[in-house]
């Protein structure tokens, strides 16, 4: 009976739980199918409006939005625990593998975890929203004295890729870089880019014969490298857990609003629904884009990559604040304005 009571908590509070318990005890067949059936229909019952299909569609969209928010916030929170860039001998081993025998200069792009290039004030962010000039902090390095390497870039990049492989890196991509002829779309190769990963680090560097200065010594090429931190397994796990928790809470919230307005007076019902619709309208595009990027990017790259998909939310980009404000107004309207009437199905007969 205890197991049934636990399972019946999937249903909203009310006499339906006792009614179901009575039936289940009479049936006496606690099969897996029965349990899954109760879970499924219990979560549906949480939404109220049993004859409506739209309420399920709305609940799925809200759950997707709150699930995305949960994933983004969890990934952002756990990113604080990601180990910092290597230092000392460990960093020297990396820079020495890329640029052996050369004095190397390097620095972090910023002190914190993220870099906001535009450096807006908080008031400015509230007024206009953040722009897209934000990124995860990187460690950039290259040969001292201007990032110039003597020799030809092709044999040098071949040797660099081999050195990285020998040092335990996995070279994921070596591709030509340069300008593209507009007429033909053909690439006019003037350099090469390399991408390699090892443990939770990613390195990208480019060797190119094109520079914007005339100080490059003859017979040399320009080379610079960027080191990035990749999310360890626990960031991905936290994002997945945050997604599930957020989606679950969004589902419950939708059910609460739906059941509370199901038989309430017209004014709070219309106001609550309008606010909820507007909140979904302004947040859904960002949610869909973020979820798409969250799922597709790791598949495309073949590795969990820096969770850029979450920054549009955690950095307040887009309509996050407006969506949050509309959602809070909706909850307040329903909490204080809507008084649910007696439900003929789930309430005792008077």
């Amino acid at each position: 009976m205890r197991r049934y009571r636990l399972l019946l908590r999937a249903y909203p509070p009310g006499p339906r739980r006792e009614e179901l318990l009575d039936t289940l005890l009479a049936v006496g067949r606690p099969s897996v199918a029965e349990n899954l059936d109760l879970l499924r229909h219990g979560l549906r019952a949480r939404l109220g409006r049993p004859a409506s299909r739209w309420v399920t569609v709305v609940a799925v969209l809200v759950a997707l939005t709150t699930g995305y928010a949960g994933a983004a916030l969890a990934a952002r929170a756990t990113w604080n625990a990601v180990p910092d860039f290597p230092s000392g001998a460990a960093m020297a081993e990396i820079t020495g593998t890329v640029f052996p025998g050369l004095p190397v200069e390097g620095d972090r792009s910023d002190d914190g975890l993220f870099l906001d290039i535009s450096e807006q004030s908080f008031a400015g962010q509230l007024a206009s929203g953040r722009n897209e000039d934000f990124q995860y902090v990187t460690y950039d390095f290259g040969p001292a004295g201007g990032n110039y390497v003597a020799g030809r870039y092709r044999p040098w990049t071949d040797a660099a890729a081999a050195r990285l492989e020998a040092a335990g890196w996995t070279v994921r991509d070596v591709s030509p870089t340069g300008n593209t002829w507009i007429a033909t779309g053909e690439l006019d190769e003037s350099g090469r880019g390399i991408w390699a990963i090892r443990d939770d680090l990613s390195i990208e560097f480019e060797a190119s014969t094109i520079t914007n200065t005339d100080r490059m010594p003859a017979g040399s090429f320009y080379a610079s490298a960027t080191l990035m931190r990749l999310p360890p397994w626990y960031v991905t796990a936290a994002a997945a857990a945050g997604m599930l928790l957020g989606a679950f809470l969004g589902w419950l919230l939708t059910g609460w609003v739906s059941r509370r307005t199901e038989r309430s007076a017209t004014a709070p019902r219309v106001a609550g629904h309008t606010l909820a619709a507007l909140a979904l309208l302004v947040t859904l595009p960002q949610t869909l884009f973020g979820v798409f990027a969250m799922v597709v990017e790791p598949l495309r790259l073949g590795t969990p990559f820096q969770p850029f998909w979450g920054m549009s939310l955690t950095y307040g980009y887009g309509c996050v604040l407006l969506g949050l404000l509309l959602s809070l107004l909706c909850v307040a309207t329903v909490a204080f304005g809507a008084r649910p009437a007696t439900d003929p199905v789930t309430e005792p007969i008077s």
Partner: protein, 111 residues
């Protein structure tokens, strides 16, 4: 109308029943071919109540737990009768077609 809905309405056609009563009656009427799960049954009862096909009849307290009885409404009886006629027509059509096949009449090709 889905099959579980049809059987639930059929089980309630004669008299008001509680949840377990509906499950038992559906199993009996369908000769054991349809076994309703409790979650499915109450989801259907909620939906049918909202649509006006079924109504709450009365409550009964058994062993300290409330047992709720449901009955078929007049509108529900009409809907069940319409569905029953539709199924009969379908069955009749299939029977006629099969009779033609058995009597050796040439079969019609695809349209």
């Amino acid at each position: 109308m889905r099959e579980p809905t049809f059987w639930i309405l059929t089980a309630l056609a004669e008299q008001a029943r509680h949840g377990y009563g509906v499950i038992q009656e559906v199993a009996r009427l369908s000769e054991g071919q349809v076994t309703l799960l409790a979650g499915t049954l109450y989801a259907a009862l909620d939906r049918l109540t909202a649509e006006g096909l079924v109504a709450v009849d009365h409550d009964e307290v058994v062993d300290g737990r409330t047992r709720r009885y449901y009955r078929l409404t007049d509108y529900g009886a009409l809907a069940l009768a319409a569905e029953s006629e539709r199924l009969q027509r379908n069955a009749q059509t299939a029977t006629t077609q099969l009779r033609g096949r058995l009597s050796g009449r040439p079969e019609l090709g695809p349209a």
